[in-house]
């Protein structure tokens, strides 16, 4: 079907070959297939959105299209001619560029120096700063940036840096620009500006592949939408045919299995943790919540919604303040990991390798690090108790190890996660906060961890789970709070906890989210 907008552009009525066509693209790492048989056309001057849950294969597809990775099956064509890119530089030469989600700029260089990094203009032996600054000013104007070419990038606000990054992609003429979650770090008005820039690029004839979690952006911006799920292509639709709710259903479209333990009866006890008016990173993330013994409170939201910031703020690991925090009947005067831990709250980080375990240390030292004072009342280490605790934990949490004297880094991801769970449980907490309980671990270990969580909640503890995997969030939680742009936008309980509802609240505009929960 022909798009109305292409007609208005008046180029031609005979269909021109797509700028970029993917035909049966597949990617496998070893025996694990992450993307299989994806075919799509990118037309000249269209905004083509790619949507899907985390892990649906969006990033992989982008990497294949932009030459950052080579497909293991299928092929690509540009303007009808078959192409294959050896690396990202070749793809850029052909006119396709990926703008990464993270800001990859040298903070101490100027805007112009960043734009021309690695391809500086020269006059004789010297770099030609004047020519580079002039070209930079032109490109910045094209993306609507107010930054000056000679400003140090580190002095620019985040949104401007994002624009600089896009400007860098546009320095040479591009046919296809891939924007990977360009608005993940931006505030609302900055998002509007960015959408405007995307439209103006489209009107200049550039094709844009737009990856986003935010369905309202997709609805407002995209000409066509392709949906991925579990590494497969679900289909491509005209954006006008879909509303946000339909998009969410297409993204999810999956049933829960008995991977998850049965839900528990509603918790009626008094809340064990009550947090009011928590404000993190100077108001970027705010919220109040409570959790009761015997319940799993799920906190959902897309990546960048502020979930991790919320909890790290509660623990005083980021600049934060709170109206009041009551834990186990005690008022916590100061947000501080040590104080929280002493009062009975522990946190299991999502960053297992960076913040959770000492990879070069043995299992015992890792297990007891958090509970050192509990296990050793004096100043001396009680090694016998430590070994005893390790044997118990290995048994209880089914940590599969070759020997008790291996280092934590030698364990598989699943076993590391179990060790981490055992570690935080050493302190016998009343509230356990688990950030991404099963990131990067296989399905068997996942199920075990779900049942460990069920066990500890049934034994009267409270658990808060942060997860960007929707089935997990829905399968585990007795109650779900959904975050978006640093705020709670919905609370779901009982039958209302469905993937569709969570996605809808997390990805649609704030008002839509409210509407759903009041239903």
């Amino acid at each position: 079907m022909m798009l109305a907008r292409t007609d208005m552009a008046g180029a031609t009525l005979t269909p021109e070959p797509p700028v970029l066509r993917a035909e049966g693209l597949s990617k496998a790492y070893g025996s694990i297939t992450v993307l299989s048989d994806v075919s799509l056309d990118i037309r000249r001057g269209e905004i083509h959105a790619i949507i899907g849950e985390n892990g649906a294969g969006k990033s992989t597809l982008m990497k294949l299209l932009s030459g950052h990775a080579a497909p293991t099956g299928g092929g690509m064509a540009m303007g009808g001619e078959p192409v294959a890119f050896a690396d990202a530089v070749r793809a850029e030469e052909a006119g396709i560029i990926l703008v990464h989600q993270e800001i990859l700029l040298a903070a101490d260089l100027t805007v112009a120096q960043n734009l021309f990094l690695g391809r500086e203009l020269t006059r004789g032996l010297a770099v030609d700063d004047r020519a580079m600054n002039r070209r930079t000013a032109e490109v910045l104007a094209r993306v609507g940036s107010t930054a000056r070419p000679t400003t140090r990038v580190g002095d620019l606000p985040l949104a401007q840096r994002q624009l600089v990054q896009i400007a860098r992609a546009l320095l040479d003429d591009r046919k296809v620009v891939i924007l990977d979650e360009p608005t993940a770090m931006l505030a609302n008005d900055e998002v509007d500006a960015l959408l405007g820039i995307a439209r103006s690029l489209r009107d200049q004839g550039v094709s844009i592949l737009y990856i986003s979690h935010r369905l309202d952006e997709v609805e407002a911006l995209a000409d066509r939408v392709t949906v991925l799920r579990d590494g497969r292509m679900i289909g491509t639709w005209d954006a006008a045919e879909l509303d946000q709710r339909q998009m969410a259903e297409l993204m999810v479209g999956r049933e829960l299995s008995d991977l998850y333990p049965a839900k528990r009866p509603p918790a009626t006890a008094e809340p064990v943790l009550t947090v009011t008016d928590l404000s993190v990173d100077h108001g970027r993330v705010e919220g109040s919540f409570e959790v009761r013994p015997g319940e799993v409170l799920g906190i959902g939201g897309m990546i960048g919604a502020g979930r991790t910031e919320l909890i790290e703020g509660l623990l005083g690991l980021r600049p934060s303040q709170a109206g009041s925090v009551t834990l186990n009947g005690r008022t916590i005067p100061r947000l501080d990991v040590g104080a929280m831990m002493a009062a009975g709250l522990v946190y299991l980080t999502e960053d297992r390798k960076g913040k959770g375990l000492l990879l070069n240390e043995g299992l015992g030292p890792n297990l007891v690090l958090q509970a050192l004072n509990l296990i050793n009342p004096g100043i001396r280490l009680n090694r016998r108790k430590e070994t005893g605790a390790l044997k118990t934990a290995v048994d209880e949490y089914d940590i599969r190890v070759r020997s008790l004297s291996v280092e934590a880094g030698q364990l598989s991801g699943g076993n590391q996660q179990k060790l981490l769970l055992a570690k935080v449980m050493q302190a016998d907490p009343a509230v356990v906060i688990i950030d991404e309980p099963t990131r990067g671990i296989d399905i068997g270990n996942k199920s075990q961890i779900y049942h460990f969580i069920d066990d500890l909640v049934r034994s009267g503890k409270a658990c808060i789970v942060f997860s960007s995997e929707l089935p997990e969030l829905v399968g585990l939680s007795d109650r779900v709070l959904v975050m978006r742009s640093g705020r709670f936008v919905a609370e779901l309980t009982g039958e209302d906890i469905t993937e569709q509802n969570v996605v809808y609240a997390a990805a649609s505009s704030g008002r839509g989210g409210e509407g759903r929960t009041q239903r």
Partner: protein, 332 residues
């Protein structure tokens, strides 16, 4: 229990895990001693060996403290200057107290030295952790400050201990207990305490955790700043202990006292197997490292093959060789 059962088959690593990499400094020391014995028969003479070992005491004692600092991922460049400063303060305070206290001025001066040394370490630690400045920069600064103070205190010349104290204090360096020179006894005691604190206490466990990964430690409720600061205080205390042994040796402080010792100490710690980026610490390896440096210097002086002016060059080469050896053995 099936999985746990299979784990018991492997030898249990309780406290004392012997690995070849951990033994390397001791093997290297043994090899150098053998070479020394082959080159010159005087090397193995009891007198010569005792002399060498006694001279090692200063670097080894300071090295125990440096092992703590480096294990937390820090670095202290100020230790040589700090030693000179503490020696200067100790001599001045003993001389001032001598008329009133007589020989009791010596223990009083030692207490002053320990307090001043610990405070110097505390100063380094607090600036680093509260000011959030790189240890390299902070201790580079205090290194200059301490060195300038001792130059000022000695007025560019030398600051001598009062004659009335000289005789009573002399045995602390030159005397011996059951044939073992006191500095060696003190080194062993300091290393034993250091090893106990590092390997057997909660604090020691936190030191390695902080050096291994400060984020993990912070997320586990460890007060990273306090642990780091305390390591610098331990360093200052060890410097003071070395100063107490040093004063009776020459009986004076000069502007060049302890000059470039920081390089020797860091070399000893690193060739002893402690990782410069933190996390793995070997107290006894540090002692062996200090011995290696001193023995090599002694062998070079005794042999006529290489000029003794090249001692520093050989010591410099050793730290590089030790690191290369470590790189290749761990890259397997």
């Amino acid at each position: 229990m099936s999985s746990a059962d299979t784990t018991m088959a492997a030898p249990e690593g309780e406290g004392f895990r012997l690995r070849w990499a951990d033994l390397a400094p001791f093997i290297a020391l043994a090899v150098i001693v053998v070479i020394g014995a082959l080159i010159n028969s005087n090397f193995m003479a009891a007198n010569n060996l005792l002399n060498v070992i006694t001279r090692t005491a200063f670097i080894a004692i300071i090295g125990v403290g440096a092992t703590f600092v480096i294990a937390t991922g820090g670095l202290d460049l100020s230790i040589g200057s700090m030693l000179a400063f503490v020696v200067g303060i100790m001599i001045m305070s003993m001389n001032a107290m001598a008329p009133a206290l007589g020989v009791w001025a010596i223990p009083a001066g030692a207490v002053v030295a320990l307090i001043v040394g610990s405070l110097c370490g505390l100063l380094n630690g607090v600036i680093i952790t509260v000011g959030k400045i790189e240890p390299f920069i902070v201790t580079l600064g205090t290194m200059g400050i301490f060195r300038a103070f001792i130059t000022w205190m000695t007025d560019g010349g030398s600051l001598s201990i009062d004659n009335s104290l000289r005789g009573a204090y002399r045995p602390v360096y030159f005397g011996s207990l059951f044939g073992i020179p006191y500095p060696v006894v003190i080194t062993i005691v300091v290393a034993l305490i250091g090893a106990f604190v590092l390997y057997r206490t909660k604090y020691g466990r936190r030191v390695t955790a902080v050096g291994s990964n400060a984020d993990v430690a912070r997320f586990s409720g460890v007060h990273v700043g306090r642990v780091r600061t305390m390591a610098f205080v331990i360093q200052g205390f060890c410097v003071a202990v070395a100063a107490i042994c040093y004063v009776p040796r020459l009986g004076a402080a000069t502007p060049t006292t302890g000059q470039l010792w920081e390089l020797q100490v860091i070399t000893a710690v690193v060739i002893g197997g402690t990782l410069l980026r933190g996390g793995k610490a070997h107290i006894w390896g540090t002692v062996a490292g200090a011995l290696i440096l001193e023995v090599i210097a002694n062998v070079m002086v005794l042999s006529d093959m290489v000029s003794e002016y090249l001692v520093a060059a050989v010591q410099g080469a050793i730290i590089i060789i030790a690191m290369l050896a470590h790189r290749f053995t761990s890259a397997r």
